[in-house]
């Protein structure tokens, strides 16, 4: 059942504006929609001590209006044109994106360019969004069962402040933000030469180019921000922590390992090892724990890919009254088995087919294409990697997976976060 599969490459047009904005165009005419993704090279990794949460606070500010777009009108404009939109913040970048009927391309470019050149950084908007972010923090982190575990385990894995602090930031730091701080942040990071823009969907290349020039080329560039030091020692910062989660209905635990940066051969091997361990109903741990032992309510795992040291997690919410140490032992046994015996031939075949299937499936959506192109343009300086990354993954061998698991996962150099439910007698 081996598939000789040739991925149809996407046709790309790239150019830079004089102000440094990097642009990628991918014309696909089959459906009359167009997606635009703007990625700014700023995430929580750029934040310094005492100023955490700024990158994410800024994502909110970007919807508060600019010189020609009234407060909160961005959303209304997009909806009334029949489109969808959003923005997100990670350690690596802040992104903004919209999908619209193809003939509304000028609207998308007008909206994105107006906020890039003239965001309304006012005291009122800052106060108001600071409160909104605090509310979001309460709702999504403080007031959710297990809401804080990923922030906690990041602090256990990483020693370097750029890597270890959370994207949502601290309430104190958000309170300390002044309008001057925020204006500085905007000038430094929201400059055209610190951003990439990708367009995918139905448009004419020449028309798109001339519209992009019209809306973006007069936005002044700024001095490039200093590079961020994300270096880490090999050791995790902390190997064990017990954490009381007052809202959690069941105990849970989470393993975390520090692994090499995204797209490195070892990262790719560990990403594939993770899929074999926890992805899907035929995965090793699902079959052992959810089916075989019937000991686990929920099993989860994923890799967090960064331009510097990255991480991989495996966690479980066991059924009530189960022995957690035994479940952890099952997980480590499976990891040890991969580290010694390598994945089976059937597993390698499964990975190949899943990788091909996932790659093709994601490409159907203009939004997903625009996002992947922007990511490669920003992180790797080469959007054409969208056409070759599948081959890189398919080239990873079972032995490479075995060696990477042996070196990084079958190890005492890992963080274990034990989540316990509210202890009786405490408040």
């Amino acid at each position: 059942m081996s598939l000789n599969f040739q991925l149809q490459p996407l046709e790309l047009h790239q150019f830079d504006l004089a102000n440094g904005l990097r642009v990628v165009l991918n014309k696909v005419d089959s459906i009359p929609v167009v997606s635009l993704a703007v990625y700014y090279d700023v995430g929580s990794r750029n934040e310094r001590k005492g100023r955490t949460g700024f990158a994410h606070l800024f994502e909110h500010m970007m919807f508060q209006g600019s010189e020609n777009v009234p407060k909160a009108a961005h959303f209304q404009y997009i909806m009334k044109a029949g489109g969808t939109m959003n923005g997100t913040t990670s350690s690596e970048r802040t992104n903004y994106y919209e999908t619209l009927p193809a003939n509304e391309l000028p609207l998308a470019l007008w909206l994105e360019s107006d906020r890039m050149r003239s965001l309304a950084v006012t005291q009122e908007n800052l106060d108001n969004q600071r409160e909104a972010v605090k509310e979001e923090k309460r709702l999504r982190y403080d007031n959710q069962p297990y809401g804080e575990v990923f922030d906690l385990i990041n602090r256990m894995i990483f020693r370097n402040f750029s890597n270890s602090h959370s994207t949502i930031g601290s309430m104190e730091d958000l309170d300390a933000a002044t309008v001057d701080d925020v204006q500085d942040f905007f000038r430094t990071y929201y400059a055209p030469n610190n951003a990439v823009m990708a367009l995918s969907g139905a448009f004419e290349i020449d028309e798109a180019r001339s519209l992009i020039s019209r809306y973006f080329e007069t936005i002044p560039s700024q001095e490039r921000p200093a590079p961020v030091d994300v270096d880490e020692p090999a050791e995790v910062a902390e190997t064990y922590l017990e954490y009381e989660d007052k809202l959690a209905p069941f105990p849970a635990f989470l393993f975390g390992w520090k692994i090499p940066e995204r797209r490195s051969p070892e990262f790719l091997a560990l990403y594939l090892a993770g899929k074999l361990l926890y992805d899907g109903d035929s995965s090793r741990l699902y079959q052992k724990l959810v089916k075989g032992d019937e000991s686990v309510i929920q099993l989860f795992g994923f890799t967090d890919e960064r331009r510097g040291p990255s991480s991989i997690f495996v966690g479980a919410i066991p059924k009530p009254d189960r022995d957690l140490s035994q479940i952890r032992e099952v997980i480590m046994e499976e990891i040890r088995d991969l580290a010694i015996n390598a994945p089976t031939g059937a597993e390698m075949q499964k990975l190949a087919n899943q990788l091909i299937n996932d790659t093709v499936r994601v490409r159907q959506s203009s939004m997903a294409r625009a996002q992947q192109l922007a990511e490669h343009a920003l992180y790797d300086g080469d959007p054409a990697l969208i056409n070759s990354e599948l081959d890189e993954l398919l080239a990873v061998t079972a032995d490479q997976i075995r060696d990477a698991v042996s070196k990084y996962l079958d190890s005492e150099n890992r963080a274990l976060l034990d989540v316990v439910t509210k202890k009786s007698g405490t408040n």
Binding site: E104, W110, N357
Partner: protein, 569 residues
């Protein structure tokens, strides 16, 4: 630099045509309808086998049988265990699953084109040869019953359960979910018999979309499903969906609720109704989105809730309209008033040209986005075929939306939005809700969270007892995730009118228009926070010098519960 072109939103480019071809349709000798749509953009295939009998066909002594049978299809077959099937499917990088809804049950598969015949074999395996192994059934039943328990802890489920019961009466659409006893009762023999009876080709539609040739696809379906024998179509006679003649109020008393879950429900059109397009546009203006009227009123203007919406749920034989919001309990009555204002307005006056245009632009604009992926396109085709919609439904959807007029919107609003016969369902603190909502309905009933009927009289507040006197200094404490936070309240009362100050971690606020009714205290304290005025609502029940209640503010995601005593006059 003067850049006049930036001053206002740009003109659109010329619109681009969006054409969906017609799928081909054939019927096999055994009665199986096959719909094939060649979509060669990507080397993928999506398959759906839909049976036109869903949960509504379960008899009263076998509720939950169809959904259990569907869930168990992938848990073991003549040639595969649950595990070997999962391994085989995932080794192809594919997916395979089954589920059911009110009107139909379905088995879905998707894969890369080169694996089409493998997937057809696996699809036929789960459709034709399931074995319902006992150990897998035991695990399924145990996990499902845990899920049902969790479901009853959710206010939204409790509201949906009552709405279904009230709107659909004797019709099986009235059953929102099987009970634990229903699930307990299910055994292997029942599953096998149900499978035998309902999984028949002459009551099924196969939809195949993707990088395929129609002739090849037809041959594959013949190969794997050609020998499948037809049976007798279920011809259940369904009781009618009752007409409504008065406004009713149904409360589910959920102790400890800090919010009231409001649903205002009415019978609505079935999915195939010719009013579909004007109803979609009318609902978009009224409440479908975050720029619709009820959201703008209850959330943006009044701040009663984080979200207020309306929707039409359209099934094969009938449907319902719902207006919904989760509000803080103290504004339950106010929220009903605003909802009924909007329901009356959409009937009483024609929508403006701008509102009509925005609603139509949104609906026509997002339609191609939904067809961008093969799964999205497949879902649209399935809807069309399963509900027997017009042959050119997908080709003319946008024109049909665009042709809706303000008069159509008014006509359908008057036909379906009938506030005077609405069923109001509210989940929360029954005593408080009853006091605020009783004047909105002619008939009132109250249930507990297990569905048992309670005596309304037990929740009546005896007449309007003389207002308590709340004048003085109150020392209150908010219980915030186990932390005690102090609040001080200084009040003076004249008749039912209250004024005073409220100070808490949310700041200092002035109360001007507070009220006492019976033992209920309600007020809004207005404070200045960073140059903006912020309304903090406080509501409480006063008994013998103690007060309990909740505080809500726009910057706090959930109401804060407090209690305390009168510390000095």
């Amino acid at each position: 630099m003067l850049e006049e072109f930036r001053k206002s939103a740009p003109e659109s480019l010329a619109p681009r045509a969006f054409n969906i071809a017609q799928p081909s349709e054939t019927i096999l000798a055994n009665g199986l309808r096959l719909i094939v749509f060649e979509d060669k953009r990507f080397p993928l295939v999506s398959l759906r086998l839909i049976f036109l009998a869903g949960d509504a066909y379960d008899s009263a002594d076998a509720v939950g049988l169809t959904s259990s049978m569907a869930s168990m299809l992938t848990e073991g077959t003549e040639n595969y265990s649950s595990r070997s099937l999962a391994e085989e499917v995932e080794r192809l990088g594919a997916s395979l699953g089954a589920s059911s809804g009110s009107d139909n049950s379905r088995v879905s598969a998707s894969c890369l084109t080169p694996y089409l015949s493998d997937m057809m074999r696996l699809l036929s395996e789960v459709v034709l040869k399931p074995t319902f192994p006992q150990n897998e059934l035991d695990l399924y039943k145990a996990n499902t019953i845990e899920g049902l328990k969790f479901q009853r802890s959710q206010a939204s489920f409790l509201a949906a359960e009552q709405v279904s019961r009230i709107i659909y009466g004797e019709h099986p659409y009235s059953i929102a979910s099987p009970s634990a006893a229903d699930i307990e009762r299910i055994d292997r023999e029942m599953l096998a018999a149900q499978h035998q009876r309902t999984f028949i080709p002459n009551n099924a539609v196969m939809v195949a979309v993707g990088d395929i040739e129609t002739a090849h696809m037809t041959a594959l379906v013949e190969e794997y499903f050609g020998e499948w024998l037809g049976g007798e179509k279920p011809d259940r006679v369904f009781p009618p969906i009752p007409a409504r003649d008065r406004r009713t109020l149904t409360i589910v008393n959920r102790e400890g609720s800090s919010q009231a879950n409001i649903v205002i429900a009415l019978p609505g059109p079935r999915r195939g109704d010719p009013d579909f397009f004007p109803v979609m546009v009318m609902n978009q203006v009224l409440g479908a989105g975050a720029s619709s009227r009820v959201f703008m009123n209850l959330r943006e203007e009044k701040g009663y809730t984080y979200g207020a919406y309306t929707k039409f749920d359209m099934k094969r034989l009938g449907g319902e309209f719902e207006a919904t919001a989760e509000v803080r309990t103290s504004v339950t009555g106010d929220s009903l008033r605003e909802f009924f204002f909007e329901l009356a307005r959409i009937r009483d006056e024609q929508v403006s040209g701008d509102e009509l245009r925005d609603a139509k632009n949104f609906l026509t604009g997002v339609f191609p986005i939904r067809a961008e992926t093969q799964e999205g396109l497949t879902n649209l085709i399935v809807q069309q075929k399963v509900y027997g919609l017009a042959d050119d439904y997908l080709q003319t959807y946008r024109e049909m939306i665009a042709s809706v007029t303000a008069e159509d919107v008014l006509r359908t609003a008057r036909k379906y939005i009938k506030p005077e016969t609405a069923a109001i369902v509210i989940v929360g603190d029954a005593g408080e809700i009853l006091a605020q909502a009783r004047s909105f309905a002619e008939e009132i009933e109250i249930f507990d969270t297990e569905g048992a009927r309670l005596d309304v009289a037990d929740f009546e507040r005896a007449g309007e007892p003389p207002a308590v006197d709340v004048t003085g200094q109150w020392a209150l404490e908010i219980d915030f995730q186990g932390q005690k936070l102090p609040v001080s309240l200084s009040l003076s009362q004249e008749g039912p009118a209250i004024s005073g100050t409220l100070s808490s971690m949310l700041g200092e606020g002035v109360i001007e228009n507070g009220k006492i009714a019976g033992s209920s205290f309600n007020a809004v304290a207005v404070s200045e926070v960073q140059g903006k005025s912020l309304g903090i609502s406080i509501s409480g029940i006063v008994v013998d010098g103690t007060m309990k209640g909740s505080i809500t503010a726009p910057i706090v995601p959930e109401p804060l519960l407090f209690s305390g005593t009168l510390s000095g006059k």
